[in-house]
Symmetry: C2
Subunit: 268 residues, 2 copies
DNA sequence: AGCGGAAGAAGTGTCGACAGCAGGGGAGAA
DNA sequence: TTCTCCCCTGCTGTCGACACTTCTTCCGCT
């Protein structure tokens, strides 16, 4: 409390959030760690920078995805530098990276903050994602070995099992892993990178989408059929299936947003 | 090998390149300026940072696209800082931006250098670009007003005129403008951003592709038909046309690369 | 009491400096 | 002469400092 700032929330400061220092451990940190891993994979594709910048970016990004840093939350570099015990230079660079990934906004000469996606932007992201995933499915169908497709089926089975158990979290992460593997099977690094970037943007919403049971059923069916299409090398069907799945998720998400925050205006 | 670098191949230093200061005016600077404009548009989408970083990134990017900074060329931040009369901080940030745009590679702890794209990566870029442009065509067909499509046709006509005149440069820039406008018509900012990024990567090759006369003929026909399909709101045809066009360009480019540098191994 | 403006606090963008790694060049060996 | 190893130079990543801009708060004026 050295600085009695009546400023806005600035959730970034030390004790206020995310430091598991004190007794606060209510939010399960497991997901935070998983988000960290995903972001790490996305950011340091290829080379392994054991870099300070990457470290900061991963931590912040995970907290944003987890929702610990809510949209619009201030992220000033001096607080962050203090928190990570570094100078502002790496902090700023990390913020710049997160900006490019769409998780942070940095208006010139103003404080960076957690990005807020408007409805329109969400639509855009999902539409692009649908097209890219269709391409992924096509290329995966061209290049994947049968064994690899079998592995995909295995993940799909685990997804179904998790859903049957009602373990939404397990389902969610298996879903992520499925798409991760599928992207790899396309053998197209450029596509993987772009898709990863898109995934980061949509990851914040994916979880909410998956909270709807009938959506999950549809999704499971789609995944199972997708694997089948890949086995049959039916590229057209595979592409159509993933597109339908993503677009279905979008519809579901939009209904959810409409219901929960009609007037609250998730501005954009 | 044929290395232009004993230590300081480093084409970035002052007089060696790109400074239009002295009498050197052999390379037409018009293109450089145009590249600058394109990059500027891509980098500062939305807000107008009159920022130092953007300035540096634009200048360097334009020189890379123009070919003044050849692939593999060293770009050390201290030289660049000297050249732009700034400290290394903005220089480094500019390099980081260009890295994200795929024009520069920054291996950890090593000197940044102009990115070299291997054959495989070129293929990937074009494939993704084809899929994204197909989406653009679809969404443009959904959202564009007739007047806007008419404007597109006008650009297409200019492309044909330039080609008839044999003015490859004029053709090239009209082509760029066509795709720029088309992307805008999709009303999808996310898609525009991704496509812009992809364009930056492929811009280095596009010019070579366009040097082949029969390719230009095909391309002109494709564009004319595309405008027609948009007018008819035939989304499927529009998407198929752009995809075919991009993939045709890829084939043409690959043939060219194969011919010109079969053994020279454009490593990747 | 409410509003406009000034002073102060806070934060961003930029700078120059420094420690540590990486590669080049020279010394020494074969 | 040619190969190998070590030192030296140079460059990167990081740091603390500073000027200028923006935001906040408090004061005086209406």
């Amino acid at each position: 409390m050295n600085a009695p700032r009546t400023r806005r929330g600035t959730v970034g400061r030390d004790g206020a959030v995310s430091r598991p220092a004190s007794g606060r451990k209510a939010p399960p940190p497991a997901n935070l760690e998983r988000f960290r891993a995903v972001i790490h994979r996305v950011l340091s594709r290829g080379e392994e920078h054991p870099s300070l910048v990457t470290e900061i970016a991963c931590t912040l990004g995970a907290e944003i995805l987890e929702g610990l840093l809510p949209p619009g939350c201030d992220l000033n570099s001096v607080e962050l530098a203090r928190r990570f015990r570094t100078s502002r230079t790496p902090t700023r660079e990390a913020l710049a990276i997160l900006e490019k990934e769409g998780l942070v906004e940095i208006p010139p000469r103003r404080r960076p903050r957690v990005a807020r996606h408007g409805r329109a932007e969400i639509r855009e992201i999902y539409h692009v994602r649908a097209a890219m995933l269709a391409l992924v499915a096509t290329e995966a169908g061209e290049h994947a070995a049968p064994a690899e497709i079998a592995e995909l089926r295995e993940i799909a089975v685990r997804m179904a099992a998790a859903a049957a158990k009602g373990d939404a979290n397990d389902y969610f992460w298996n879903n992520v892993r499925f798409h991760e593997r599928l992207a790899e099977l396309s053998r197209n690094r450029t596509l993987q990178r772009l898709l990863d970037s898109l995934m980061l943007r949509s990851l914040r919403f994916r979880r909410r989408t998956l909270s709807q049971p009938e959506r999950i059923q549809r999704s499971i069916a789609d995944h199972a059929r997708l694997v089948g299409a890949l086995e049959d090398r039916d590229l057209g069907l595979a592409a159509a299936l993933v597109r339908s799945n993503v677009l279905g998720a979008l519809r579901s998400l939009e209904a959810l947003l409409e219901a929960e925050g009609g007037a609250r205006g998730a501005a954009g």
